[in-house]
Symmetry: C2
Subunit: 420 residues, 2 copies
């Protein structure tokens, strides 16, 4: 990190190529033939953060850890009012080289260039949220941002264990984090005026449109339900079609109907799990357990999609003469990002791409939604993903797109700073 | 077993109540709280057969084992031409109290009564087929009847092992059976002029019609196929509905379409197995493995049902943008029973029930189909099953129905004997 005094003109300019180089360096340092391995609360994650600290370190930028284990780099401004750029270095096991760390390293480059220009009017911060992926301890994703946002009580995770029986509390303590005190990190939200996050899309929309960048208008809400269909086992040969209570046919019809309803309402529906009992070729299925995950960016439409899916499931169960039980697994309200920041981001993207900006919700979860949920004006930029693939070693984005995305983030920061 | 000389008039009459008593005795001897336990090639099966030998034994009936391990009881007639009554004592683990043994014990009672009348014009035989269920050694059902019928080379089973690693060849040897010599049992087919089998329906058709008895016109053919649908995993939130390659939606549509085709052609279609990879609520299914079991009594319609199901599966796979592979697992041609015997059986059933006999195919596999396949004129009688339930300790039939079924078998034997 260059110093404010005695720097060259070039130092003051954001250099997108440096970000691509840094991403490659991080990949070599913390990945292997099977992909990224920066699982939170592991030595590899620690190595990634140590490497990030080395890149960020040095006056005037101050690097520290909050009580929840989030890593902050602060460039103090003339006022405490702050603009925060955030994302996460942690990855799933065998993950991609861009998910999360693109946003952190792009933010670090912006911070470096701004630090070279001297003390800014407002404070600029970069945050590397802890454990966004939530893979190791029971699936609590966005641990760090949800804790700071006050949406998660970290003490509720004290007893969570990983597959080796290690307690979350013990793994966190090894990183200097006391879960009982982690909620004190909420103080970090004070003075935050805007939150910006750059992320790969992790979907095929931008590629399909032939656009490198998109502006995210908010995070979809989720209604995830577990359904159990209980029919009656019977002999595949001796039971006439009209006398069956076939749990699989009921489940199949519900999966297809939920999809049709989602298509009709411009939402999303996914049946990702389906298990069949007894699961023998010659026996009519007695029991099917399945999930239906419904998503939409508008709360009223999401509620409508759920109600229609419930009605359809009940109607199909009756038609198929099987019983149905339906249990809520996860419910997340849609989060809208800030209208004004969306407008600025759209301007930036339109200028860089010379086409109108594409506005889209994110169907996946992101830390930015936690900030927005806590009342912080927030927006996200998406850069297109090759083939829409993510959470896979095959995850990729063209270097030109990555550089354009870094430029977009830098330009957006400048626009926002002008208004704070 | 009474002797031909010095017997009372009552001895010469078939007593259906004795069969119900015998079934209960066998249940007490070879079942437990979890159902029948006469798994072939086990001590419990041996106990059942020893008990049967005791009931059958004594001049003029000769009891012996053929080279395949089938148990025969022969009442020699004036001619070697023979009428054979058959079924099986073996059961699945935790099976029902009637499946198989009803036919054997009803046949034993008919044999007893006829023996009491003196030497018949033709030879009468009862056979207890070995290992009809085929549960213990790799799923080869109808081992004994298929061997005698020449449809199975028993040497092909030498290396088959049960779940404890015991070889079929060794288990059979403990029962005096040398698999290498078992096909010599085919000689038992010589002189067989007719084959009759009484069995519980194991389905709900007769109960639905309010009829105690039915006449079986043949065994349906089976086309069982394993399908693999290969799509692409994707994020349930970030992948638009239009960009998906959802293996589960394809599999669901195929299961429902196969069913609709079977209903339209008056056949049967069952998807009993379906496994989903990766099987996570938030991931669009990449791979589905499923079975489709198609059945029909007419070979041309079965072929049509298969062709239409193949076409539909290919069309659906294309629509869903997934790849499809389809592999034959089992193919059994439909077997028609003997027209003349069907007519006699229908007369007997109509007389006893004072209603026209219901003619129906069997969707399940039975030893009679092996005999028919080998060219022996054969027919089966069905007696209704409570709730259509079988292969379960809950399997049951009203005692009045059981007695009526024994009478029907006895009357049918008399009719057939008159014509031989």
């Amino acid at each position: 990190m260059g110093r404010a005094a005695g720097v060259s003109v070039e130092d003051r300019i954001v250099d997108p190529a440096r970000v691509v180089d840094a991403l490659r360096e991080l990949r070599a340092l913390t990945g292997d033939a099977h992909g990224a391995q920066r699982l939170a609360w592991t030595p590899t994650w620690a190595r990634a953060r140590e490497w990030l600290r080395d890149r960020l370190g040095g006056s005037p930028v101050v690097v520290d850890l909050d009580e929840a284990g989030n890593l902050w780099a602060t460039l103090p401004g003339q006022r405490p009012d702050s603009l925060v750029i955030g994302s996460h270095l942690d990855s799933i096991p065998q993950g991609g080289w861009l998910d999360g760390c693109l946003g952190v390293l792009a933010g670090a480059e912006v911070l470096r260039a701004l630090a070279a220009r001297g003390t800014p009017a407002v404070t600029l911060k970069l945050v590397d949220w802890a454990d966004e992926e939530g893979v190791r301890f029971g699936g609590q994703s966005m641990y760090g941002s949800a804790t700071v946002a006050g949406a998660l009580d970290p003490e509720s995770l004290v007893a969570a264990r990983d597959s080796d029986g290690v307690r979350f509390a013990d793994a966190a303590r090894a990183f200097g984090v006391d879960l009982a005190a982690a909620s004190r990190s909420r103080a970090r939200l004070a003075d935050v005026r805007s939150y910006l996050e750059l992320h790969i899309e992790q979907g095929p929309v931008l590629e399909g449109l032939g656009l490198p960048l998109g502006v995210v208008t908010g995070a979809v809400g989720i209604e995830r339900h577990a359904l159990r269909l209980q029919g009656m086992a019977g002999h595949a040969g001796s039971t006439p079609m009209s006398a069956r209570h076939d749990a699989l046919c009921a489940g199949a019809a519900i999966a297809l109907e939920a999809r049709a309803l989602a298509v009709g309402l411009d939402g999303r529906a996914t049946t990702g799990e389906m298990t069949v009992q007894p699961g023998l070729a010659t026996v009519i299925p007695r029991t099917v357990d399945m999930t239906v995950d419904l998503r939409h960016e508008r709360p009223d439409v999401l509620a409508d999609l759920l109600a229609q899916t419930r009605d359809a499931a009940a109607r199909i169960a009756e038609q198929e003469a099987v019983s149905l039980s339906m249990r809520e697994v996860l419910q997340i309200a849609p989060t809208a990002f800030d209208e004004s920041l969306i407008g600025l981001a759209a301007d930036v993207v339109a200028e860089l791409t010379e086409r109108p900006a594409h506005l889209m919700p994110t169907g996946a979860l992101h830390d930015a939604a936690q900030l927005a949920g806590a009342g912080v004006p927030a927006v996200m930029l998406f850069v297109r993903s090759r083939g829409g693939i993510s959470h896979s070693p095959a995850e990729d984005t063209d270097p030109q797109d990555l550089e354009l995305a870094v430029k977009a983030l830098a330009n957006l920061v400048e626009r926002v700073l002008r208004r704070l």
